[in-house]
């Protein structure tokens, strides 16, 4: 009697990537080059001096550690032992460090580690809010393809309201309202008229692009000063904490929207899985009839949570204008809503997972910017693709077997 076949797919992938890293970043490049990593920022409590390592041997060491992990994965697969997520995480980190050492070898600029992380978090903000919106909607049974539109609507209204009131915080309050309106339209068509939710979502995205682009090219362009010069959200430094090296600048030297993001993630993570509100919402998304038979109003639950989700995505939209200090521009969200959707799937429909996945995508996005500045051996066009490549690989390969809420996308009829 044998159980199912042992799958060596993952260990083989690890070994292949580890070997490529060893050869490409370690063995082939010439020796004698050096890479400098910068850690500290001027305001830190104490300074960690930039340090320089020999590029070739460092890349080889990291690659060898990665290969050792691949060997461990083979052994575990053979013994049918589950190793948890630490293995792919540490493996990814090793290959990444080997890559960074190689790409910044003998460059005039050092590799700004803190800056890289800080930027990653910043770029992840709209993705986190977007995927949290998706988490809320899908757990209550509504597929939210309209995240892109909700982000864009939030960005637009935040810019206009902040400009008119000369107060970036007013923009921050206005943004969720715009997102909630898009959410309301989505749930209205999905629940009341039982239209296919994916189609409604796509149509809403097009609608928001159309409306905002029209207003942009007419009113916002003609009277730029009165309509579209939003003030920037100030950076709020948390006293003392912000001066801890590395952690301080990354976590505690941010605008309020980043702090809000962490708060929302924590609150949702707890409430979704531990509270009455969360239990009822998930019941509605899994088996609406069962929820109905214990007296839970299915469609009302869907309506409330989809609107709430829309508001959260709208808040994320404020990132593009008031948090980044930019004027509103046509289609300025540039597909971030869809990447947020991918982050939600990669994060397996949990707020915590969504945060981690969004950080991963934010990192890929920022890496491309940073490497562009310090100048890399990789063509910039390829680097521009990294966030999207990361998305495709993440969603297709790493997710494995996972389960969306069972009744998402299906209208509830008694």
């Amino acid at each position: 009697m044998t159980a199912g076949k042992v799958s060596y797919r993952a260990p083989i992938a690890y070994a292949a990537i580890g070997l490529l890293s060893l050869i490409g970043f370690g063995l082939i490049p010439p020796s004698g080059r050096h890479t400098t990593f910068a850690i500290s920022t001027p305001k830190d409590l104490f300074t960690i001096e930039p340090f320089t390592v020999p590029s070739k041997s460092t890349a080889i060491v990291f690659s060898l550690v990665a290969l050792a992990l691949a060997a461990l994965a083979f052994w575990a697969a053979r013994k049918r032992i589950r190793l948890g997520v630490w293995l792919p995480s540490v493996f990814g980190l090793c290959v990444l460090l080997a890559f960074l050492t190689w790409s910044a070898a003998d460059k005039a600029n050092s590799m700004p580690v803190t800056g890289l992380l800080q930027g990653s978090l910043f770029l992840a903000v709209p993705l986190v809010f977007g995927s949290l919106a998706g988490v809320l909607c899908e757990h209550s049974g509504i597929i939210d393809i309209a995240i892109e539109g909700q982000l864009l609507a939030g960005a637009f209204l935040a810019a206009v309201v902040a400009t008119m009131s000369h107060n970036p915080y007013a923009g921050l309050i206005a943004a969720p309202i715009a997102g909630a309106l898009v959410g309301l339209l989505l749930v209205l068509f999905a629940v009341k008229y039982r239209v296919d939710q994916i189609i409604v979502g796509v149509v809403l995205n097009v609608l928001v692009v159309g409306v905002t682009s029209y207003l942009f090219s007419t009113v916002l362009t003609a009277h730029r000063e009165t309509w579209n010069t939003p003030p920037k959200l100030p950076v709020l430094e948390i006293p003392f904490l912000s001066r801890i090296p590395v952690l301080g600048p990354v976590l505690f030297r941010q605008t309020i929207i980043v702090y809000l993001m962490f708060a929302v993630v924590i609150v949702l993570q707890v409430m979704l899985f531990r509270s009455r509100w969360g239990l009822r919402m998930r019941a509605v998304g899994e088996h609406p009839k069962a929820a109905d038979t214990v007296g839970i109003k299915v469609n009302r639950t869907r309506l409330r949570n989809t609107v709430l989700g829309g508001a959260i995505a709208g808040l994320g939209g404020a990132f593009f204008t008031v948090a980044a200090g930019l004027a509103f521009g046509k289609e300025m969200t540039g597909g971030k809503g869809f990447i947020a959707l991918a982050a939600m799937i990669l994060g397996r429909w949990s707020p915590k997972g969504a945060l981690l996945a969004a950080l991963l995508f934010g990192f890929a996005d920022n890496l491309q910017v940073v490497l562009g500045i310090i100048g890399t051996p990789v063509p910039s066009q390829l680097m521009l693709m990294t966030p999207y490549l990361a998305t495709i690989f993440a969603v297709a390969g790493l997710v494995g077997r996972n389960r969306p809420p069972a009744s998402e996308g299906i209208p509830y009829v008694k």
């Binding site: 409430m271 019941a283 009839k289 069962a290 109905d292 214990v294 007296g295």
Partner: protein, 528 residues
């Protein structure tokens, strides 16, 4: 608590599902609601449970008129319901399912998990259910899931418990446990409305039996009423209980399955080394609880699934590796377990459905075109022969009742010369009249010398039809027995107990229904 329904009427469009139904359930009474599939039992209970609004009539609790605006109100009034298809969320724990809708909460609406667990444990211990509050529903067997449903209703202080076809998914032993639970609940003062179409069960447990036919009450009788009488009340004419057939005269073995193993995409052995033979002119039945590999077995025989190893031969020809079309052309007639999704195209007409497997052959095809005149005339003949009750063969298959849909499937599969008839759940959800007809046709096919393979989860059907019975459990055939094996033995085998042990255990402990069986046997012997 005394429950009374007065003149309940519920219409769906032109269909009158409930027609002025009166029903009284006294406190601490087990009241059976007996009727065929589609007679309106479930509709009535959904009205009582506040799920549907009645078009006319009143619900009275302790002689006071109540008005339910949804299941929440019904529950608050002390009515609990265990639905035929469980209303449990598979990815939630037992405790979460039980408290859903009336959660004990602490700060900020966070659920008090300890209290929820205690609620489950208290009721579970009181009735000896042995349910772990932290188990996920999807990991529990059906019998345990049903007990969770009962806990769910009791935790809401239900005084009237509605059980909708509770035995449909249970083995005889599990049914026995359920009957014990029902009696225990009755002792504790809970009234039970027991909905079923199984005569034997109602006579075993009910205090009162109300029979419903076509949405109206036929009468309320005592459980001493004979099965034959109950059946004729239920159907509206006298019916033959059981299957009328002569002893089989099996010929040579023509269909053989050898060491068949099917491993699915998830790596699970759905079919595990299955071997059996079916001879010409015999009905070989595979019994077992749903989900023990029967579906995979039939789909592999038809060629829908490729086996991992093993062989399937029909008259010496290997079927493994052939396409579905080739298998059908080799003379296999296939009645799938789910007629509405696998047996028919519901948006096609009856006539079109009757040629689904022969659309490209003479006489229905001429070159690239169909011959609509021939298709139609042949359909009219088939419909007549198989008693398909439809206004016209041009009606859509979706407009037919379940029984007539099944007759269409049978008509299609049995109107060509067969070398094997493979029928899965041939009478699931059918009314008594249709069941009689389907069984007669299957026996007739056997009598012309076709090997017949039946897969059924209904023990009554297996016992009535089969000449030999194999029991399937977790992908294996746990034993092959003759048709006179007692239902208690088969029930134990369906739960994975090997034959010899099952015989010993069944002798030591008889189930309520098993005793009823023995009583019937002795009385019929006396009659003879």
């Amino acid at each position: 608590m005394r429950l009374e329904l007065r003149g309940i009427t519920k219409r769906f469009g032109s269909l009158v599902a409930n027609d002025a139904i009166d029903l009284v359930v006294e406190p601490g009474e087990i009241h059976a609601l007996l009727g065929e599939n589609g007679a309106g039992k479930s509709t009535l209970m959904n009205v009582l449970y506040g799920f549907y609004d009645p078009d006319a009539g009143q619900i009275l609790i302790d002689d006071k008129v109540v008005d339910f605006d949804g299941p929440g109100d019904a529950m608050a009034a002390g009515i609990g319901m265990v639905h035929q298809h469980f209303m449990l969320i598979p990815v939630f724990t037992v405790a979460e399912n039980v408290v859903l809708g009336h959660e004990p909460t602490g700060v900020a609406g966070v659920i008090d998990v300890a209290k929820a667990r205690a609620q489950v444990k208290e009721i579970s211990d009181r009735f000896g259910f042995h349910i772990d509050p932290d188990a996920l529903i999807e990991d529990l067997p059906v019998g345990a899931q049903q007990r969770v449903e009962i806990i769910k209703a009791l935790s809401r202080r239900a005084e009237v418990l509605i059980l909708d076809e509770p035995t449909a998914v249970l083995t005889p032993q599990e049914t026995d446990e359920l009957i014990a639970i029902m009696r225990q609940l009755k002792e504790a003062g809970t009234s039970i409305v027991f909905i079923t179409h199984k005569l034997r069960e109602v006579r075993a447990v009910a205090d009162q039996i109300t029979v419903i036919r076509r949405g109206a009450v036929v009468g309320t009788v005592a459980p001493t009423t004979s099965e034959r009488e109950l059946a004729s009340m239920m159907v509206g004419r006298s019916v033959e209980l059981g299957v009328v057939k002569d002893a089989a005269t099996p010929g040579e073995v023509s269909f053989s399955v050898r060491d068949l193993t099917v491993i699915d995409a998830a790596g699970v052995r759905q079919v595990d080394g299955v071997t059996f033979d079916v001879a010409r002119g015999e009905i070989f039945a595979i019994a077992g609880v749903q989900g023990n590999g029967q579906t995979e077995l039939t789909e592999t025989i038809l060629g829908l699934t490729r086996p991992t190893s093993g062989s399937i031969t029909l008259d010496g020809e290997e079927l493994v590796g052939r396409s579905v079309k080739e298998v059908l052309r080799a003379g296999v007639g296939y009645v799938p377990e789910d007629r509405s999704t696998d047996g028919l195209v519901s948006a096609f007409s009856v006539a079109e459905n009757l040629i689904l497997d022969r659309y490209d052959q003479e006489p229905f095809a001429r070159g690239l075109a169909l011959d609509p005149v021939r298709v139609r005339s042949s359909a009219v003949e088939r419909a007549q022969e198989f008693d398909v009750r439809t206004g016209s063969v041009d009606d859509l298959a979706s407009t037919l009742s379940g029984g007539n849909q099944q007759k269409v499937v049978l008509a299609r599969e049995m109107s060509r010369p067969l070398r094997l008839l493979l029928a899965s759940q041939p009478t699931r959800g059918l009314d008594v009249g249709s069941i009689e007809f389907v069984h007669r046709r299957i026996v007739a096919e056997r009598d012309v010398g076709t090997p017949v393979l039946i897969v059924s989860t209904e023990l009554d059907e297996v016992l009535g039809l089969a000449d030999r019975i194999a029991v399937m459990y977790r992908g294996r055939i746990i034993g092959t027995v003759d048709a006179h094996t007692h239902r208690d033995v088969l029930g134990l085998m369906m739960a994975g107990v090997p034959h010899d042990e099952a015989v010993a255990q069944a002798a030591a402990h008889q189930t309520v229904l098993g005793q009823a069986d023995r009583a019937v046997e002795t009385s019929s012997e006396e009659d003879a």
